[in-house]
């Protein structure tokens, strides 16, 4: 009998066109290639220079999200895109997709959104597929049991021309999560705690599989939040074995298999979970019941503490000191009650419907504190419509927040949605790097519940106080 295999090994094996040897990496087949306006132009240029086309144009799918405007008048009205370079990128993507026969969800398309939100939402992302995109948060798609990872622009060109990548097989890391999350503690808090535990380089060279009863109990939106931030621990990808929750989520989505093809797909997908006894290179156990709402205090996602905790001391670590100086914090200080200037709810980490519901649940009937600028940016136009159908937009607007069109927005500030210098921003996104949300911006990463609580009080607030 064949040796027991993990989920990752099964997906990897199915896609080996040529297995790796000591001298050469594997040639790995890619089922789904997602592209956006920022990391694709130079790859199209290479195709033109070498006189190549796309080997399988039907396996590549384009959207625009990173540098697109989120103001309705700029998306649907006649107002020009503020940033000239961003406008050029958007029009270049349109031209490239037309020239090379790639399906594009353009700026005004009802299905457009952040690339990692729309892949699953449209049913393009499926269990057992290999999914790549010129974006590190491609790890999000692993929540459906796909092997999904970010690639550079040169590799985008490789997939265009050959539908394959040269890859060394990564190692495997199991993160076993057991115990029930306490009220007010969410998937975002869980993944922040995991990164705090293993460190920002802790997953380097590995594919993480999240397992255990806590993971099984999460809905798909929450699973995507967890897998999304795998890259913040340095991991190549994050995966969760597909189960009934996955299948229910996918059933009936426009690009998911339909009728007879669905039954056949389901049969294949049910074979994907790891075999009993399959070995991982490393394992880490997490007790979910002990977790509290988490918030970052530094300039990488591993610099994180329970929201009521104190900032640790790390003597003899200049990088740590530099990071605290940037944030305006000192060791031994508490972050709770620290004034907050900006609150951002959105991104591929927490821009899905359940995230907006969570934030709205704390804002219903309340106002955000005066002086706080709160921006709520749905992850896709579909999320926006669904939220509006439930009246969530009214809750945000009545509370004093801004409600926008979908896009990456303030997660990386490429479209001009920026945090001003020196301001403290509680953000549901995934990176608190220096300058990520604007030059001199100070980012505090947290869950949508925590972000909403901070908006109401105008200070760093434990959401459990307002539940």
């Amino acid at each position: 009998m064949a040796a027991p295999q993990t989920l990752f090994e099964k997906v990897w094996r199915h896609h080996e066109v040529v297995a790796e040897t000591a001298d050469t990496p594997a040639v790995l087949y890619i089922d789904l290639h997602l592209i956006h306006e920022v990391t694709s132009p130079q790859a199209f240029t290479v195709l033109r220079q070498r006189g190549l086309g796309l080997r399988r144009p039907e396996r590549t799918f384009a959207t625009m999200d990173h540098s697109t405007p989120t103001r309705t008048e700029q998306v649907f009205g006649d107002a020009p895109i503020t940033l000239e370079d961003a406008a050029r990128q958007v029009s270049e993507l349109e031209r490239n997709c037309a020239a090379f026969g790639v399906e594009l969800l353009g700026l005004r398309d009802a299905r457009r959104g952040i690339v990692h939100i729309i892949g699953p939402e449209l049913g393009l992302t499926q269990p057992g597929k290999t999914v790549v995109c010129g974006d590190s948060h491609t790890s999000t798609h692993g929540a459906l049991g796909a092997l999904a990872f970010g690639i550079g622009t040169t590799e985008v060109g490789h997939v265009f021309a050959t539908q394959c990548l040269l890859q060394r097989k990564p190692r495997t890391l199991a993160i076993n999560v057991n115990g029930a999350l306490q009220p007010g503690v969410t998937a975002k808090d869980l993944i922040l705690a995991i990164i705090g535990r293993i460190g920002v380089g802790g997953g380097t060279g590995h594919v993480i599989e999240y397992r255990g009863e806590t993971i099984r109990a999460l809905d798909m939106d929450a699973r995507m939040t967890v897998c999304n931030m795998s890259i913040e621990a340095g991991a190549r990808a994050g995966m969760i074995a597909p189960d009934e929750t996955t299948f229910r989520y996918l059933a009936g989505r426009p690009r998911a298999p339909q009728s007879e093809a669905w039954a056949a797909a389901l049969e294949r997908w049910q074979q994907l979970p790891g075999d009993p006894g399959a070995r991982f290179d490393r394992e880490v156990d997490i007790d979910a019941a002990a977790l509290e709402p988490m918030m970052t205090f530094g300039t990488n996602p591993g610099m994180v503490i329970p929201i009521g905790g104190t900032i640790p001391e790390r003597t003899g670590d200049p990088a740590f000191a530099k990071s605290l100086a940037y944030m305006g914090f000192a060791p031994g200080e508490r972050i709770q009650e620290h004034p907050v200037n900006v609150v951002f709810v959105g991104s591929c980490t927490n821009g899905r419907l359940s995230d907006l519901r969570a934030a709205a649940s704390l804002l219903r009937g309340r106002k955000i504190a005066s002086g706080v600028h709160m921006l709520v940016v749905p992850g896709s136009q579909q999320v926006k419509r669904d939220a509006e159908a439930e009246g969530l937009d009214r809750i945000f607007i009545d509370a004093g927040a801004e409600w926008r069109e979908s896009g990456c927005s303030m997660c990386l500030g490429m479209n001009g949605d920026l945090v001003p210098k020196g301001h403290y921003a509680v953000s549901t996104s995934n990176r608190n790097f220096e300058g990520r949300q604007g030059i001199g911006a100070r980012t505090l990463l947290a869950s949508p519940l925590t972000a909403a609580a901070c908006a109401v009080r105008g200070r760093v607030t434990d959401p459990r106080e307002l539940l």
Binding site: V27, E155, N300
Partner: protein
């Protein structure tokens, strides 16, 4: 791609750990649609004051950095985004190798595809280099060793295929296109979507 066999240079030392891709090249410079010209934005937020003038205390602005092709950074270099603009900015600035004790996976892969060598050193040699800015080093790809001015030669790991591509100037796309027959047969045999 030009083959690289050996690199000789003085080092420039940036003793910062966990240097992320947003530091190497901030997002506002990603609106370009070409790969050239990013060197002037390398480490922009550390290199320039808000008025655009060069900060004299930043190491790449100092006279001894001129002409150096080897950057020594703290541990864990290149974490964060998949933006290939990071190695493009480093090479456009004139760097050919980065030395650290850990590299983020996507950064390492992107760097190798652009003739930028990620040199993964063990802690002792790395510490020595951090403590001796401007040291003359020789990096040899055939033997995958870095030689310090003390004469000590330290081995560094380099995936054999990456070494083959770098030392022969082989481009991976050409290699993959050469596998077309296998890709054809894979596609025709498989029933899955």
């Amino acid at each position: 791609m030009e083959p690289i066999r050996t690199l000789r240079s003085r080092t420039v030392v940036l003793p910062v750990s966990d240097v992320d891709t947003d530091q190497i090249i901030p997002a506002r410079f990603l609106t370009t649609t070409t790969r050239e010209g990013l060197g002037k934005h390398l480490f922009a937020d550390w290199r320039y004051a808000p008025d655009g003038s060069a900060r004299p205390d930043f190491v790449l602005n100092q006279p001894q950095a001129a002409g150096c092709t080897v950057l020594v950074a703290g541990r864990n270099f290149g974490c964060g985004s998949s933006r290939e603009h990071a190695p493009w900015a480093l090479t456009d600035f004139g760097l050919r190798a980065v030395i650290s004790t850990q590299f983020a996976d996507i950064f390492r892969s992107n760097a190798l595809k652009n003739g930028l060598l990620p040199v993964l050193l063990e802690q002792d040699a790395h510490r020595w280099l951090l403590e001796h800015p401007g040291a003359d080093v020789t990096i040899d790809l055939e033997s995958t060793t870095l030689t310090l001015p003390t004469g000590a030669a330290v081995h560094f790991p380099l995936e054999p295929f990456a070494r083959y591509c770098l030392t022969n100037g082989v481009d991976e796309l050409g290699f993959l296109l050469g596998r077309a027959a296998q890709i054809d047969s894979y596609e025709s045999q498989r029933s899955r979507p």
